[in-house]
Structures are given as structure tokens and as C-alpha cells.
């Protein structure tokens, strides 16, 4: 499909699929500013960057050098750019009380509107996040002038309970920021991109919310990331063409608060969640 024109009541959200380099903040910041310029030209009101977009993903103990506080002066160009459009950016966040989070900052109007700290830190296979980051304390939608967004950082989205809880907490749409490594198999697209396509679609239709998915592409330390950034509405209809796997790309997709509200009124699936079953499971585990 081709991107359809933005209609009345819709705002364009841009997905900035970039290739970052661990330890090269200036290079990475440069990619952000270039994408922000393109997003502005495309009329976007919110730009979503991938996970750890400012630092790169395979930092390991490099987080000790590269973690930034939310008010670090090196973030000034992004705060400045957020006067024109909202920005969701990923970084290793230096916590005031110690520890470093794998975090997302929502910036708008030159100010910090909200922070999401990744809940699920994969520490298996090739992943070692639990070694370098502390997990986030909870899930709350982040709010800016465009709406209330549930922000999910990569592995957060692989736990479908995250989107259920965010839906119940009033999220109108999900912004998924991923640094999804991939392997190659017989398919014409990387295996990781295929899995994300299913996962993003499943999240949208089970939580009955649009999902805007921004993934990394490119290589870091010999690890390939799978791109294929994409957006889908609450019924599983694509809101934009899927980005290519291997190249940087800016995808723009329309978000309509009114359409989203109508869909979740028609299909109140997340509100039917049997939380009593969760309680039973918790009680059984703690018995």
C-alpha cells in the first residue's frame, strides 16, 4: 500500500528507523537531528526513535560512560527540537539514586513530559541487559498534547500483559521502541522483522489500540538489527508501508484519537481481562 493522506483529526507520527553506533554519541545525535528534520518536513507531530537510540544498543559496561541524566546538557539539541514536535528518544538513563535504566524520554515544548523505564531486561541467549541496567518500577501511559501513549521498550512488548495493563491505565495507542537483533533464514526478510510484524499486529488487535513500532537497523559490534518499522491500527490494518530491513528510513503514519476511541468502544477486549485469574496465579506462586 502507499501511505494515505492525513485526514482531519489525524496527526502524523514518524518512526525514525536509524542505525546507531555504540559509544559514538555525536554520530548518533547527528542521526537524530537529521531524522527530526525529515520528520518536520513530512509534517510529523511526534517522532519515535528506537530503543537506546542515542547510545547504541551493545554498550555492555559502556553504559557507565554513556548514561545520561534527563537534564544532561548533551540532550539540549533534542529538547530544543521538541519545541516544534514531540520526541520519544531512547537512552541509558542515569538515575538520581544510583543505577542506570534502559529508558525512553518523551520531550515536548522544550520540556520532559514523561519517562518510561524498560521493565523486562532480557538476560539470556545473546542478551545481557540484566547485567547493566536496573528494571523499571512500573507501567503508566506517558502524556503529551497528542494523547496518552503506552510506551513499550522492546522486550516489554513480548509480554502481552504489558499492553493489557497500559490499556486499562488509559493508553490510547502504543509506541514500541525496539533494538531487535535478527538472524537470517530462508525468508527474503530477516527473521526478527517477521516476528516483530506478528507481535506488533497481535498487540494492536488484542489490546485494541494502534501500535507505532520503531526498530533499529544496521550493525553494532557484529550484531545485525532488523528494521521493518511499521504502524498498524486497532483492527490490524497497516497505517503505513513497512520500512526496509537494512536501511535507515522514516515512516510516517496517521494517528486518529477519534478512530482509536471508537475502536476501543466497539471492542472493549482489554477491559474484559480476568485479573482475578492473575491474582490466583500470584497467590499460587507465593503459596
Amino acid at each position: 500500500m502507499t501511505e494515505r493522506p492525513v485526514e482531519r483529526g489525524e496527526v502524523p507520527i514518524a518512526l525514525a528507523q536509524i542505525a546507531t553506533c555504540p559509544g559514538q554519541l555525536r554520530h548518533n545525535l547527528d542521526r537524530h537531528l537529521r531524522m527530526l528534520e525529515a520528520a518536520r518536513t513530512a509534517g510529523a507531530r511526534l517522532v519515535v526513535f528506537p530503543e537506546l537510540s542515542l547510545s547504541g544498543y551493545l554498550l555492555a559496561h559502556g553504559v557507565l560512560e554513556l548514561a545520561l541524566a534527563a537534564d544532561d546538557p548533551r540532550l539540549a539539541p533534542l529538547y530544543e527540537a521538541s519545541r516544534e514536535l514531540a520526541i520519544l528518544v531512547g537512552l541509558p538513563l542515569r538515575e538520581p539514586g544510583g543505577g542506570i535504566s534502559n529508558a525512553a524520554l518523551l520531550l515536548e515544548g522544550g520540556e520532559l513530559r514523561g519517562v518510561h523505564r524498560k521493565l523486562y531486561l532480557p538476560t539470556y541467549g545473546m542478551f545481557d541487559e540484566g547485567r547493566y541496567f536496573v528494571p523499571g518500577p512500573g507501567l503508566q501511559p506517558l502524556e503529551c498534547s497528542l494523547g496518552r501513549f503506552g510506551v513499550l521498550i522492546c522486550e516489554d512488548a513480548w509480554h502481552l500483559s504489558s499492553s493489557v495493563l497500559l490499556a486499562q491505565a488509559g493508553a490510547e495507542a502504543f509506541l514500541v521502541m525496539a533494538g531487535g537483533p535478527t538472524e537470517l533464514d530462508a525468508d527474503v526478510e530477516p527473521a526478527g522483522g517477521r516476528r516483530w510484524h506478528w507481535l506488533v499486529g497481535a498487540t494492536a488487535i488484542t489490546a485494541v489500540r494502534p501500535v507505532f513500532f520503531a526498530n533499529r537497523c544496521g550493525w553494532e559490534e557484529g550484531i545485525l538489527f532488523g528494521g521493518r518499522s511499521w504502524a498498524v491500527d486497532a483492527r490490524g490494518r497497516a497505517l503505513a508501508d513497512t520500512a526496509p530491513a537494512l536501511e535507515e528510513a522514516l515512516v510516517t503514519a496517521p494517528f486518529s484519537r477519534a478512530d482509536a476511541a471508537f475502536a476501543r468502544t466497539l471492542l472493549p477486549i482489554p477491559f474484559m481481562e480476568r485479573l482475578d485469574l492473575w491474582r490466583t496465579a500470584l497467590e499460587r506462586r507465593h503459596a
Binding site: A19, C21, P22, G23, Q24, R26, H27, G56, L58, L59, A60, H61, G62, E65, L184, D185, A186, D187, V188, E189, P190, G218, W219, E221, G222, L224, A245, L246
Partner: protein, 274 residues
């Protein structure tokens, strides 16, 4: 019998091409140096480098030793000409003989083979230093897992672009990249002495070994699982023996940790900070 799962060759080629471009960018360098043996692996690695950065920044070296086959040099030239890259010939024959004599290697073919592999590595890194280049490794996954490589010789390189690619797929990549057919179809050889072939030394060829390696290394199948799946017992024993015996080559070295800041243990850091 279980087969090696296929891989999408054009996507693989495209991804590896981009890897080679990004590695140079991240390192702040502009050139690749590659040793062309006249064999398929170095031909494929060089072709990917040319796709990544163009022909001019790719320097090929042919590094014949005292007993290298003249055919290898012809094939290296064929590959270089096909890719439009410059080929320098650095004849290691005399130096190899002299060094072997100094070390009193005599007729020990294995020691001599290792020596020559390390002299080639020395030459490639020297050239890389001179020209501000990275050394492009040409080892593939099959030979790394089977240990059919020389530690700090062909196993040493700035990056191993083919190190996660099965030899079976290298043949497909080579045809996709237009590698001369004579290079693709000749039996793989380290060319360290006349008549040497990988299969002759290993006891099996790569297309036969790759499915066994895959289903053990990635698929988690044990020796008994593999035999039950129909692989010949002698093949499974041979492959798994080489797989276990050569595992020390996976990591070039290990540092004895006596502090809480041991390099690559307590401090794993990005290679190219700026």
C-alpha cells in the same frame, strides 16, 4: 536425514556488505586489506568488500609460500581481475624457508603450515598499518567450528565477515556474487603442501559435515540424537571430535582475572568509542 536449513543468499550478501561498510566507518578507516589465496572464501570476502566500499579501497595480497601451487596464484589473479582490484604479490617463499630453518621445522608439515599462516597474517597486518586499513578475515563458520584454521594465522583478522556462514552457503554466495566457477568448484585447500585438501585432512567434506555441525551446535542434538536421525556414526564421531577438540580456538586468548576490572569480563566495552 536432517538437512542444513537454507538461507536467503541475496539478503545475506546485502547484510554482510553493509557490515563491511559500517566496520570501516566506525573505526574511522577507509580501506580493507585481504589476502587472496585463490580459494572461494577469500574470493567471497573480497567481493563483499568491493560491494561495500568499491574496488579502489580494497587491497588484495597474494602470499605464496615455498610450496604453494602456481594454480592458486592464477586463481587469485582471476578473482582480483574480476573484481577490478589491485593484486600485490608478496612472495613468502624465501622468508618462509629461512624462518622454517631458523625454527628447525624440517619436515613437520603442520608446524610449517602454521608458520606460513602466521607469516601471511603478519604481512596483512603490516600492510593494514601502512595503509590505514582493516584486515578482512576470510574464515567461515564450518572451519572455525572444526578448528581447521591456525590460531593467530588465518584465524586472526580485524573482522571475520564469513565467520557465521556455513561453508555450504559460501558456495551459494560465491555463485551469487559471480566468483569465477573454477574457484567455486575446485576442492577447498589450505594450499600448504602439494595435494593438500581440507576434506583429505578432515576426513569429510563441508557439505557433508555442515548439517551435523548445525544440528549439534545450533539444534542441540547430541551424538546419539544425530546417529538416530540417520547420520553415519563415523561422520558424527569425526565432526564432534573436531568440534570439541578445537574449541580453544573460538576465543583467541583468556586473561587471568585477579581484579574486579578484568578486561572483557568486568569491563566489556564498545570497540570504537568517539
Amino acid at each position: 536425514m536432517r538437512e542444513l536449513p537454507p538461507v536467503h543468499i541475496p539478503l545475506l550478501a546485502e547484510a554482510l556488505t553493509r557490515f563491511l561498510a559500517e566496520e570501516l566507518r566506525a573505526a574511522g578507516l577507509r580501506r580493507w586489506v585481504v589476502g587472496l589465496s585463490g580459494g572461494i572464501d577469500s574470493a567471497v570476502a573480497a567481493a563483499l568488500a568491493v560491494r561495500a566500499v568499491g574496488a579502489e579501497p580494497v587491497e588484495a595480497l597474494a602470499l605464496p609460500g615455498p610450496t604453494s601451487s602456481p594454480e592458486s596464484l592464477e586463481h587469485a589473479r582471476l578473482v582480483a581481475d574480476g573484481l577490478g582490484i589491485r593484486l600485490d604479490i608478496v612472495d613468502l617463499g624465501e622468508a618462509g624457508r629461512a624462518f622454517a630453518s631458523t625454527l628447525d621445522i624440517r619436515e613437520d608439515r603442520l608446524r610449517f603450515g602454521n608458520l606460513l599462516a602466521r607469516m601471511r597474517m603478519t604481512t596483512l597486518f603490516d600492510r593494514a598499518r601502512r595503509d590505514g586499513a582493516l584486515v578482512l578475515g576470510t574464515s567461515n563458520k564450518s572451519e572455525i567450528l572444526l578448528g581447521y584454521s591456525t590460531l593467530f594465522g588465518d584465524a586472526a583478522a580485524s573482522v571475520q565477515v564469513l565467520g557465521d556462514v556455513w561453508k555450504t552457503h559460501i558456495f551459494e554466495l560465491a555463485r551469487f556474487l559471480g566468483t569465477p566457477e573454477v574457484v567455486v568448484s575446485k576442492p577447498p585447500t589450505a594450499d600448504l603442501w602439494p595435494g593438500q585438501t581440507d576434506a583429505g585432512e578432515l576426513g569429510f567434506d563441508y557439505p557433508t559435515a555442515d548439517p551435523v555441525l548445525h544440528w549439534h551446535h545450533e539444534g542441540g542434538m547430541t551424538r546419539d540424537d544425530l546417529v538416530a536421525a540417520g547420520f553415519p556414526e563415523s561422520l558424527v564421531e569425526g565432526v564432534l571430535h573436531a568440534y570439541r577438540r578445537n574449541r580453544f580456538k573460538w576465543r583467541p586468548t583468556v586473561i587471568a582475572r585477579v581484579s574486579s576490572s578484568c578486561i572483557n569480563v568486568d569491563r566489556i566495552l564498545p570497540r570504537n568509542p568517539r
